[in-house]
Amino acid sequence: MSNVDPGDTLWDGMRAAFPVAAPTLALGVSFGLVAKPVMGTVAPIAMSILIFSGSAQFAALSVLQGGGAAAAAVGAGLLMNVRWLPMSFALAPSLQGSTQRRTLESQAIVDASFVIASRPDGRFEPRPLVGATLLQASAWTAGTVIGTLGSGFIGNPDQFGLDAVFPAFYLSLLVASLRQRRDRNAFVAVALAAFIAASLLPFAPPGLPITASSVAALVGLRNS
C-alpha cells in the first residue's frame, strides 16, 4: 500500500485524508468545548466554517480566553497561518484556469491536503487538494457543532490518544515521500528543517517554526 495516493480526483483526495477525519472531528469537539464559554454557541461554529484552521483558531481562542484584545487574537492566529504563505507559492504553478479559479482553489490549502496533493516532481494535483480539504473541513465543523452543543456529556478526546494520530500521519507521509525520492537534497532539507523547527519550538510563537523550517527547501538550489 502506497501512503502517498497517486490519484488525481476529488475522491482520491478524500480517501487519502480519511485517516485524519476522525481525529479532526475529535479536535473540533475539543475546540467547541473550550470555545463555548468564551465565544458562545454560534461564533465557534461560524469560525470553523469560515476559517477551518484548527491551529489558528486554538491560538486566537487562547488569547481571547486570557482576556486579550481582538488585535492580539488575530495576530496569534495569523502567525499560525503564515506557514501557508510559502505553501501558496509552491502550489501556484500547478493551478490552471482564470485568476478567480486559481484563487479559489488556493483556499483549499491546509497542511494535510497540501501534502496529499504534492507529487515528488514538485507538481500538485488540485482536485485531491480540494477533496482532502472538503473532508477535513466538514469533520472539523461537525466536531465544533458537537462540542458547542453537546458540552457537558463528552469526555476529553485526548484520553483516546487521538492527538497522537497527527504526528503519526505526517511521519507516514514524510517517510513515503522520502522513499519515493531517494535524492540527497531531500534528506539534507529534511535534516535542516528538523534542526530549524527544533531550535525555534521552545520559544517562538506558534506557527513560526513551521514557516521558518520551509527555508530548508532552498537546499533544492544545490545540484543533487
Binding site: R83, F89, A164, P167, L171, N185, I210, G220
Partner: protein, 103 residues
Amino acid sequence: MTAVWITIAALFVGTIALKATGPIALRRRHPPRRAVAVIALVAPTVLTSLVLYQTLSAHPTGVTMDARIVGLVVAALAIAARAPMIVVILLAALATAAVRALA
C-alpha cells in the same frame, strides 16, 4: 462579544489573503527549473516540522514531553516494518491512550 466577531472577520480575511498570495503574485508564469527543485522540497520540510510540532507543542506556546512521544515512536517502528498507514495510526493512538490510562 464584539472582540470575538472582529477576530473571526479579520482571521477570515487574513487567511484567505495568505493562501491566495502565491497564485495572484505569480500569475501564470512558469517557474524556472531551479525554482521547481526548491518547490519540490517544501512539502518534506513542512512535514518534518509538523511531526515535531504535533508531538512536542504545548498550549499555547512552548514544548512539553508527554504520551504523544510514545505514540510517535510506535508509529516509527510500524512504518519501518512497512505497516499500512491505517495500522500505523491506530497503533500510535492505542500506545498513547495506553500510556495515559496507566499514568
